[in-house]
């Protein structure tokens, strides 16, 4: 499904210092995998997702999605394969446009846009049904600008937009981290419902080690641009958060560096 091989990404900061953000990463994802990704700050988690989505080019290696080599495709060319939700609820939606207009853009992800009507009556009916499933009352607010929604509502809408045209791959980068705990849990449940219900293939970065083990069927731990731990069942099923921290120490020879994870 997703085949990442020998992926390398080096950033150069202002004073010419090179930072290896991805250090020859290999990752093979099967159809239907729901993979959680953990790791300390600066481990390269976001860089991996951005590289897969094509936000920037890579220095070496190859990315194949469903057999197609997308390594050199610009972001918008591979967007029809990928749905994304970001940490910042503001990033996933256009604030000045209405809920239905945002959804209409998302639903046409696989198509070439033309001069046809932006939202049709049939689409509107479908949006209403899908929004009703979110249970947030958004189905009655189709014409309201998204900017009026709360962070959690926006994130739920982004999740719906990211999955509405059934992407080959769903990329979630700490998409609940900016929300209050209760809303975060709701969005988490929604994520699980959508990913499992629609049998999507997903990568989810999280700082919540508990969630990392509870969600999905496989967990990756990243550190210094490498995947240092690849947990699958049945071994994963027996893991506890403490075991994970232990694992990290044995890999790194030091304590887990992610303060947010320890607080969670």
């Amino acid at each position: 499904m997703l085949q990442v091989s020998q992926l390398r990404k080096v950033f150069c900061n202002g004073n010419g210092m090179a930072k290896v953000a991805l250090d020859n990463v290999d990752l093979h994802v099967e159809v239907g995998d729901f993979i959680t990704i953990i790791g300390s700050n600066g481990a390269g988690k976001s860089t991996l997702l951005n590289a897969i989505a094509g936000v920037y080019g890579v220095d070496q290696g190859q990315i194949r999605i469903d057999g197609v080599d997308v390594t050199n495709q610009p972001e918008h060319r591979r967007a029809h394969l990928i749905g994304r939700v970001f940490q910042d609820p503001m990033i996933g939606t256009a604030a000045s446009m209405s809920i239905e207009e945002n959804l209409a853009i998302a639903v046409k992800r696989p198509e070439r846009l033309g001069m046809a009507k932006g939202v049709t009556g049939r689409e509107r009916a479908r949006f209403r049904e899908l929004l009703a499933l979110l249970d947030l009352g958004l189905e009655d607010r189709l014409h309201e600008p998204v900017g009026l929604l709360s962070g959690g509502q926006r994130q739920a809408l982004t999740l719906l937009m990211a999955t509405i045209s059934t992407p080959k791959l769903l990329l979630l980068d700490e998409h609940t981290a900016a929300l209050d705990p209760k809303t975060a849990e709701q969005i988490g449940e929604l994520t699980r419902k959508i990913v499992l219900g629609r049998r999507l293939t997903a990568l989810m970065v999280t700082h919540n080690l508990q969630a990392a083990l509870e969600f999905g069927n496989r967990t990756l731990m990243m550190d210094q641009g490498q995947i240092v731990l690849d947990l699958r069942n049945p071994r994963r099923a027996k893991m506890t958060v403490d075991d994970l921290l232990q694992q990290f120490m044995s890999v790194r020879g030091e304590r887990f560096l992610d303060d947010r994870a320890l607080l969670a």
Binding site: H80, I82, A94, A95, M97, P110, M115, K117
Partner: protein, 299 residues
């Protein structure tokens, strides 16, 4: 006398409303501060004047002007999206280059169109005043723009101005959207330039100075006056804003202001409007502070 002057003012408001719609596309929808219009407006005038002066048909000349304006907008878009020059500077560069281009097109600084066939004269032959022509053009432009903004591509254009990251992750090439918006906007500015030249009976290289700021003033006035939500209202507001702006200028002139002071007045107007949030914040702080000082609860 006053009546005919007022009709003339409204005619100006309508024809400059076409530019204001263009400025609305770039400044408001695309969030792209495009100054190219200062060059594409006289470009349209230059193209149509040269074309008519050398015996061409006014309608073909006007269409040619529209096309030239689109190309000017695309040039700015190219500088910005492909050569990665900032939007503001891209517009200034194209505008500066257009000054020379316009002189080349005209062959001199001014072309009179007296006793030449123009669209305005054609309309006059049917007993129709220029404002009829301008009203038709500006309304058609508005309706076309309203419809366009409701299409799939129109959605993508609006989203590009709102949230580039979002629309790119939805598979849209934002570079193309910027090129499209800039092309449309400057096409409209050149179209207006062509009409203005035929209306006033000449084209002049200097006629473009302050076009973008005047257009922006119209957009701002329109937004302040027409507060209904929805796209159709927004473009209606822009046209109303353009007329009100011209009437305000007319009033200022009648009150004895020198025509040469108008650009200063316009600039001050735009500064005040754009800084309104800052003023409001300062005022609220001031009042809030005062109230608290007197012990009256603020909430």
């Amino acid at each position: 006398m006053l009546w005919s002057a007022l009709v003339g003012t409204i005619e100006q408001g309508l024809v400059y409303g076409v530019i204001a719609l263009g400025v609305y596309i770039t400044f408001r929808i695309l969030d792209f501060p495009d100054l190219t219009v200062d060059g594409s407006f006289p470009l349209g005038a230059a193209v149509v004047a040269r074309f008519i002066a050398s015996g061409g048909s006014p309608l073909a000349g006007t269409m040619l002007a529209l096309g030239a304006g689109i190309v000017a907008g695309l040039a700015t878009g190219f500088l910005n999206t492909k050569l990665k020059i900032s939007g503001l500077l891209s517009g200034i560069l194209t505008m500066t280059a257009l000054y020379s281009v316009n002189l080349r097109v005209m062959g001199r600084a001014n072309i009179p169109l007296l006793r030449k066939p123009t669209l305005v004269n054609w309309f006059g032959d049917f007993g129709l005043a220029p404002w009829v022509l301008f009203l038709v053009v500006v309304l058609l432009t508005k309706l076309a723009l309203d419809l366009f903004l409701r299409t799939e591509i129109g959605f993508a254009l609006r989203a590009t101005g709102d949230n580039e990251q979002m629309i790119r992750s939805c598979g849209v090439d934002t570079d193309n959207m910027k090129l499209l918006g800039l092309g449309l906007s400057n096409g409209l500015a050149a179209l207006a330039g062509a009409l203005v030249a035929q209306y006033q009976g000449f084209a002049d290289v200097g006629m473009g100075i302050g076009t973008a700021v005047a257009g922006l003033a119209s957009v701002i006035i329109g937004q302040a006056l027409v507060r209904f939500r929805g796209l159709g209202w927004a473009t209606t507001g822009v046209i109303i804003g353009s007329i009100v702006y011209r009437v305000a200028i007319f009033a200022a002139l009648r009150m004895g202001l020198a025509p040469t002071d108008l650009k200063l007045i316009t600039a001050i107007l735009v500064v005040l409007a754009l800084s309104a949030p800052t003023w409001k914040g300062l005022l609220e702080k001031f009042w809030g502070g005062k109230r608290r000082a007197t012990g009256i609860p603020t909430a």
